[in-house]
């Protein structure tokens, strides 16, 4: 034994999230990719719940899995992507992709090696509960919070302007 129930759940969740994240990248069918991404989001929400951040978990599901991915799926389904109809990519494009991806990984690994990451405290935390999160957002961080809402507003206005162009 020697494993608590939290550790078992963590292991299971992590394995599922890694496998489904790999599925996003490796699957040939774009719709399968999107579905794998949805599974990944769910496992990440599971990790949030493990950290006692239920509000974050549920908002994560509503916003990402419930809204954004529905639109992704919507577009994917309407595009009707077929392997036969797709223009074949040239080989040099694949090599360029592999090299730039590898370079990005080297940078990430280097950054992670130099970053100082203090071990997470094993104490239970309540910061993810909705009450504490609300207090934090609307008292301590109220200015950045409101500024980000202006960002959303400008994005909305932009979408309407583009939509009305014709």
């Amino acid at each position: 034994m020697g494993m608590s129930i939290q550790q078992i759940i963590f292991m299971v969740l992590s394995v599922i999230s890694l496998v489904s994240a790999l599925g996003v990248v490796l699957s040939k069918n774009p719709v399968t990719s999107v579905l794998c991404l949805i599974v990944t989001f769910f496992t990440i929400a599971g990790h949030y719940i493990m950290m006692n951040a239920q509000f974050l978990a549920v908002v994560h599901i509503i916003v990402y899995a419930g809204a954004i991915m529905v639109l992704f799926l919507y577009v994917m389904m309407l595009m009707n992507l077929n392997a036969e109809l797709e223009p074949q990519k040239r080989n040099w494009l694949k090599y360029a992709g592999a090299i730039s991806g590898g370079a990005l990984m080297v940078v990430l690994v280097a950054a992670l090696r130099d970053a100082s990451m203090p071990a997470l405290s094993s104490q239970p935390t309540d910061i993810g509960l909705i009450k504490n999160l609300g207090q934090l957002l609307f008292k301590q961080y109220v200015v950045p919070f409101e500024v980000s809402s202006i960002l959303f507003l400008s994005a909305m206005v932009g979408a309407v302007v583009i939509g009305k162009k014709d």
Binding site: S4, I5, N29, V31, L35, I38, Q54, F55, V58, V59, I61, I62, A65, G66, A67, V70, L71, L73, Y74, M77, L78, L129, I130
Partner: protein, 347 residues
């Protein structure tokens, strides 16, 4: 009895409760199909199903048996896994919402308080919102995997309809939250137990929520995704046997759960007038409360059916206009007025 530092009695209690709630939703959904046909018959001055059993009461069993034994057809050019996943998701999502609804107060069995709510999480309403937003996947995946243009059109319709009506639904809920100050459905019911029902404070919010619930359940007058005269049946066109049954059944479970939710949030849930001054045993009051919630729920299910057989289906552009240009501004206005009134009362 603790193993792996888990209270096993707690697990047994919850498993029992989950099974009971699940069976209850399935039975209610099953008899809603019978009820729907009886109500339709009553409204259209017919008799309705009356052959299988007394008053046709065995009709749902006959229908279910027929669906189980029908030939199962999976279209050749469909993606098999997703084709089966579609109805499974629809069914699973429909059954998940019942977890946070308080079906009653606490029962005391052998000195052990047993809450008649599967999970009293402090984000109850958001949980429901999350599950509802998942509901569209069953229809979308099923419709796309069928490899049929009509099915795809229907699932695209369903997706845009559900996303459009989620917004006013969420805004109506925000106004309710501002009033109650809690996301837990249990707290919301307990508040209504000691004062007026929320519908008295939130009539407009209740109306908006009700309309959006119709849209989210794909019920008439918003049953565009299964408009048979335009789409040959809609997203479940290629489905047969029990996979079709799952789609149809999920709609009835959704209707039951939405009715229970409306009853819980706006009509007092398991609370009924004078429940604390009857002087009865708490266990009896709890059971009476459950009965009260059940009756309220049945009333709303009847209302769903009544509307279906009274109001004609919207056109698609009317549906979108209603969603974006009427419901959302109304919900925003409701939120503003609620906020202003709460602020005025505090000063």
């Amino acid at each position: 009895m603790t193993l792996l530092s888990i209270d096993w009695f707690f697990i047994i209690e919850k498993v029992l409760l989950i099974s009971v709630v699940l069976v209850l939703s399935l039975v209610v959904a099953m008899y809603s199909t019978w009820g729907e046909r009886k109500v339709a018959a009553w409204i259209q001055d017919r008799l309705g199903p009356n052959r299988a059993g007394p008053m046709g009461l065995l009709q749902p069993l006959a229908d279910g048996g027929k669906l189980f034994f029908k030939e199962e057809i999976i279209p050749t050019n469909s993606s098999r896994f997703l084709f089966i996943l579609g109805p499974s998701i629809a069914m699973m999502v429909a059954c998940m919402t019942s977890a946070v609804i308080p079906w009653g107060d606490t029962l005391v069995i052998a000195g052990r308080p047993v809450s008649l709510q599967i999970a009293d999480v402090n984000i109850g309403i958001l949980f429901i919102f999350g599950v509802v937003s998942m509901g569209v996947y069953g229809i979308m995946i099923g419709g796309w995997a069928s490899n049929n243009k009509f099915s795809l059109l229907a699932s695209v319709r369903a997706a845009s309809q559900i996303i459009s009506y989620e917004l006013p639904m969420g805004l109506a809920l925000i106004a309710l939250l501002m009033l109650t100050g809690s996301l837990s459905l249990k707290d919301i019911v307990e508040q209504q137990r000691h004062s007026l029902w929320n519908v008295c404070y939130q009539p407009l919010g209740f109306f908006i929520f009700l309309v959006c619930a119709f849209a989210e359940c794909n019920r008439a007058p918003f049953d565009l995704p299964e408009a048979e005269n335009e789409l040959n049946g809609g997203y479940h066109l290629e489905y047969s046997s029990m996979k079709l049954g799952f789609f149809l059944f999920a709609e009835y479970i959704n209707m039951f759960i939405s009715s229970a939710l409306i009853a819980t949030m706006y009509f007092g849930g398991y609370a009924f007038p004078y429940m604390d001054s009857l002087g009865l045993d708490p266990n009896v009051v709890t059971i009476l409360g459950f009965v009260a919630l059940f009756i309220k729920t049945l009333c709303f299910i009847f209302f769903f059916m009544w509307v279906r057989w009274t109001v004609p289906r919207f056109r698609y552009d009317q549906l979108m206009r209603l969603g974006w240009k009427v419901m959302i501004p109304l919900a925003l206005a409701n939120m503003l007025i609620t906020g202003a009134l709460i602020l005025a009362r505090q000063h």
